[in-house]
Amino acid sequence: MAEFIQLLFNGLVEGSIFGIAALGISLVYSVLRLVNFAAGDFLTLSAFTTYFFSVDLHMPLVIAVLISVVIGVVISLFLEFLIWRRLRKSGAGMLALFLVATGVAFVLRQSIALTFGSNSRKFNIDQIKTFEFLGAQIAQAQLVVLCCASIAITSIAIFIKKSVIGKNMRAYSDSPSLAAVSGINVQRVIIATWCISGAFGALAGVFQGTVQGQFTSGMGLDLLLSILAAVVLGTIGDAYGALIGGFVLGIVMELSTWSAFFGGIPSTYKPVVAFSVLVIVLLFKPEGIFGVKARRI
């Protein structure tokens, strides 16, 4: 039982990170029809910049995280103006966007490796401190991540549901042609989308770096498959679905290692679970768990 609680909690923590990262990808897809394969490396980038500001420059961790979020947003917007906007104007198709996103991912990853080197890093936080809950060991860092992630998830869900920009984003994703003729400033919607995606990618990166303990420049890429599985599971383009998909996938991946479950699989094979989920969903329910074939956020 204690093992189950432990895995469930780990799954919740990991799931909240998947959810946050998946939300950014799903939102960008729903608004821009772009599967952002570079999203994984945005996670890595923010983990490294947070490390740089907090450990190298001795800034308080919270400030370092905030700066990293700003950097994530700025780079997302920079790429929008430098690349994505031009590609849209030239009428680039899905394949062209996919190839360019993959290219951006490579450039980003290698730039991080060049700048920060290939050594693994570790935030200056207490990794040892744990609480006991129903026999499970819950690390303080995990608890903080889960709380922060929950706040971020709740705020963004309310923002998309209630705010003017959120409604305009959903309207644009529903029908770009109608949105463009009903008084919605489309450019503003696109910029808001990149801001959210950049900020949430950065948060997910810091959270993952915290939970993982150590991280290298390959961290984001390793996670990308799981994040994409969460996106597809929650119906691609559905922001709420992405959050739920993230949680479901996180918990499923953790519980797959449960010893009561056919002895459990070795934890190094967890990405295989994510990949299997991706394949199963695509084979049997390609429209995702919500089963609504129409696109929505």
Binding site: V164, K167, N168, R170, A171, S173, D174, S175, S177, L178, A179, A180, V181, S182, G183, I184, N185, V186, A294, R295, R296
Partner: protein
């Protein structure tokens, strides 16, 4: 005729290299209903799409009178057209199907109306009581007639004094077509100028102050709506038997 509210002069344009409009002239007096009719491919809808920057304009102008001054519509960004009092109901995709009825109205609202969102929404629900019980339903679940009412309500949420309608009766059952035209007259009576493009030419012209017949992207005939509606030459050539009922 006094200075028209909207004036389209020698408009030329189309899509990419394909030229559809070859010099169209339309004048829309204030508080009137003006209908543009004509055979398929005459370029009726392209006029609206040119105004909204969807079709390319190569020559000509389109202006609207605002406080004694002419404002260039073609130089106004599409999302700012609602701010200068123009509302638009496209022919297809004219509601946000994945959003609720209430949210569709929210999205249509702009603060420049000087009225609060709640106030305007309330007036829409009074106007279209069928929508009240379905506020929280997705717009995609509405029937054809209700969809068209929502499309009108969404456009009216920016409190326009000019409404551009692209084939508002397309796809509606005959009984609903009558209802729709009655509604357009009611909107017009509340002080909103209407410029519409219609396939259902006779019915539309009957309620119109003035009508234009377009062919090959050019003006062919024009006249008072009621006259055009019964003009045998025009009825025979352009409307076809199908629309004479």
């Amino acid at each position: 005729m006094t200075q028209p509210l909207i004036k389209i002069t020698n408009l030329e344009g189309g899509y990419g290299d394909i030229k559809i409009l070859n010099g169209v002239n339309i004048e829309v007096p204030e508080k009137s209903i003006v209908t543009i009719v004509g055979p398929n491919g005459a370029g009726k809808s392209t006029i609206m799409k040119a105004i909204y920057g969807i079709a390319r304009v190569t020559a000509g102008s389109a202006t609207i009178m605002r406080e004694g001054k002419e404002i260039n519509i073609l130089a106004t960004k599409p999302y700012n057209l609602s701010k200068i009092g123009i509302g638009y109901v496209p022919q297809i995709e004219n509601i946000f199907v994945a959003m609720t009825i209430d949210e569709n109205l929210d999205v249509g609202y702009i603060p420049e109306t000087g009225k609060s969102l709640e106030e305007l929404k309330e007036s829409m629900y009074v106007r279209y009581p069928d929508l009240v019980s379905r506020k929280k339903d997705r717009a995609g679940q509405l029937s054809g007639g209700q969809r068209q009412m929502l499309a009108l309500a969404r456009a009216l949420m920016s409190a326009p004094d000019v409404l551009l309608l692209d084939e508002p009766s397309a796809g509606l059952a005959p009984a609903l077509v009558d209802q729709l035209f009655d509604e357009l007259v009611r909107i017009n009576n509340s002080g909103v100028t209407i410029l519409m493009v219609e396939q259902n030419a006779r019915r539309a012209l009957e309620i119109s102050t003035y009508g234009y017949v377009l062919d090959m992207g050019k003006n062919r005939h024009e006249g008072a709506g009621a006259d055009l509606a019964v003009d045998p030459a025009i009825v025979g050539i352009y409307f076809g038997k199908r629309n004479q009922g």
